[in-house]
Symmetry: C2
Subunit: 372 residues, 2 copies
């Protein structure tokens, strides 16, 4: 709660200065946590109840406002805390504190139109501009402590998956399996699940987005499990696909081989200095090279992880940036055939220099098509 958060706020000040902003008003929960070390009051599901906290960073000060009964108190390391009434918007309270003539950066991807209007009215004589995803971009490269937390989150997810492999799944509902995986992650020390666990069986398998429901697992099904642990706020994500019963049908084994190859190529494309489009291009090259043999629509996905799943940097064919050392990302490939289901495989890896062994895999459960 000390130097690292002061340093992070200093880096934000530099970024503001470089873009002509005097001050920044931070409202996005993960950004608040990264800049202050404090998670706020709402637990794992969201880092902070919406609108409940805001941080004003000026050249000389950092003020954290939150609803509650705290008085003005200095927390050390230059962070002052201000309590606001339960019905106040802390962002509005802080906007009113900005000195005249300054330009204030706000997070337009976080503030609603209604809140932005109130903030603008409170800081009436100042120029309000978009800060954009400045803090998200500062957060992409993780320090050693963050990487340690991510490694632990990965281990917890792997432990829960491992226990699933040893249990009976046939006859159980997607929702029940999801809840059990979440419980196991908490038992192994997670704050909670990184996101609601997604279990899809039968024709629900292989999908990028499927909410665990009441469908029961049956013999012969593909079963896809997407899960992640949240550990001290840091989150990973992994997706694995299994078959239920004695073993896969030929079409299932073939589909799995193809998705596995594409996802492996995507993982191997991660490198310091590689483009944010590299992983997706590699996956597409593998699947497209199968020609008419692979006529199915598939999806690739990837983005940064840390205090959030799906944070900067975004991976994709249209992305123009480059990957840096110590940036953790997810890499996933999936295919779901209407009425039949399919395969999805996803990992979390940390981009590393090739001389250090290349990308560091955080989610090590086997990607083989195991029979459960």
């Amino acid at each position: 709660m000390s130097d690292v958060h002061v340093e992070r706020r200093d880096r934000l000040r530099e970024r503001c200065s470089a873009t002509g902003l005097d001050a920044a008003l931070i409202t996005h929960p993960a950004n608040l946590r990264w800049l202050t070390g404090s998670a706020g009051g709402a637990g794992v599901g969201s880092d902070s109840a919406e609108g409940a906290r805001a941080l004003l960073v000026t050249p000389a000060a950092a003020v954290l406002a939150a609803a509650g009964l705290w008085s003005d108190a200095d927390l050390g390391g230059g962070l002052t805390r201000v309590g606001t009434g339960p019905a106040d918007d802390p962002a509005v309270v802080l906007a009113a504190r900005c000195s005249g003539g300054s330009s204030l950066g706000v997070e337009e991807h976080d503030l609603t139109v209604a809140r932005h209007r109130a903030v603008t009215a409170a800081a009436s004589l100042r120029q309000i501009r978009d800060l954009g995803c400045a803090v998200e971009q500062l957060r992409t490269v993780k320090d050693e402590q963050e990487l340690s937390l991510l490694r632990i989150a990965g281990e917890i997810a792997d432990q829960a998956l491992g226990e699933l492999l040893e249990s009976i799944v046939a006859g159980r509902t997607e929702r029940h399996l999801a809840m059990e995986l979440e419980r196991r992650m908490i038992d192994h020390g997670a704050d909670g699940a990184a996101f609601p666990v997604r279990v899809g069986t039968g024709d629900h398998s292989g999908r990028a987005a499927h909410a665990s429901g009441d469908r029961r697992v049956e013999e012969g099904d593909f079963l896809t499990v997407a899960l992640g642990a949240c550990y001290r706020g840091y989150r990973v994500s992994a997706t694995r696909t299994f078959v239920v019963g004695l073993g896969p049908a030929d079409w299932q084994a073939e589909l799995h081989r193809q998705v596995f190859s594409a996802q492996r190529a995507a993982r191997e494309a991660l490198a310091v200095g590689a483009g944010q489009d590299a992983a997706d291009r590699a996956a597409h090259r593998v699947l497209d090279s199968l020609g008419h043999a692979f006529g199915h629509p598939y999806d690739t996905s990837g983005a940064g992880v840390g205090l959030e799943i799906g944070e900067e940097p975004h991976l994709g064919l249209q992305e123009l940036g480059k990957l840096d050392n110590r940036v953790p990302v997810t890499v996933g490939v999936g295919v779901s055939l209407p009425g039949r289901g399919g395969v999805r495989i996803e990992d979390t890896l940390v981009v590393r220099p090739s001389e250090d062994g290349g990308p560091e895999l955080l989610t090590i459960t086997t990607k083989e098509l195991l029979a459960l």
Copy 2:
């Protein structure tokens, strides 16, 4: 998934028509769920991953857009589904579908500035206005099925609390107790907790907002537990305060009596046609009448519950509206003394006519100051 959702969308159309809007673009997750019957993909924590779904309601149609691989398909009852690419904003996709010349209402309390800008650009030749909390207001009066779900959610929360009363709490951490309560609610059939369970012991007790942490429960502590179950999307909230050990100290018993009296007065002030300020006024009258005997800062809180905690109608001294029959609200009063902790008591009740027995209490666990 049929008539009730069609009727709800018709009521929204009437509201739009009355305010001169041709169409409404709905993005707020709980509103989407209420209007479509579908919870989206993200599980209990949030009804839908942010930005993942949007609904366009026009006089003749209702179109639900979501990232995924669905094709245009009519789901019955006039609801059409459109799949969007994983990187698209469904709200932007739908805005582009609005016919020229129409006026579109958007939820400015939900759309971020960045999304609003993209929606405006996509619907470029049309007038975009704030829909405000129109759907939240339509949602305040619950139908019989919604009340049934809330009753079950209340029973589940009561069951979990009841089991806590029979277990050992001394020596356990706030976080551990919170996780256990959440697990018990799921075991009793809840989708999950309505919000992260808040357990506060010692000087953390009595607070309106306290995140369960690593503090261990000790003999002599006040222990405050705020919890609620989410059942089929419907959520209740209850807060109870206990003492740990053989029995309360005199100051603890006195404080509890005072808070209990104030909260009871607040509950009893709920009536069809009473003001949204009535419950808070009643609580304040009781506490203020104690004069110098009650010099502590206290807080009262209350708002509607349903698909969300803290939805319309808001209760408070400054609120001008009136309470309707079949509106469920929370009513809470709390005091937390710095360094000592305190008492918080909160219930969920449904506003009912006096001839039907007055407010219906959904959270029936005793409010006495029990010793654990």
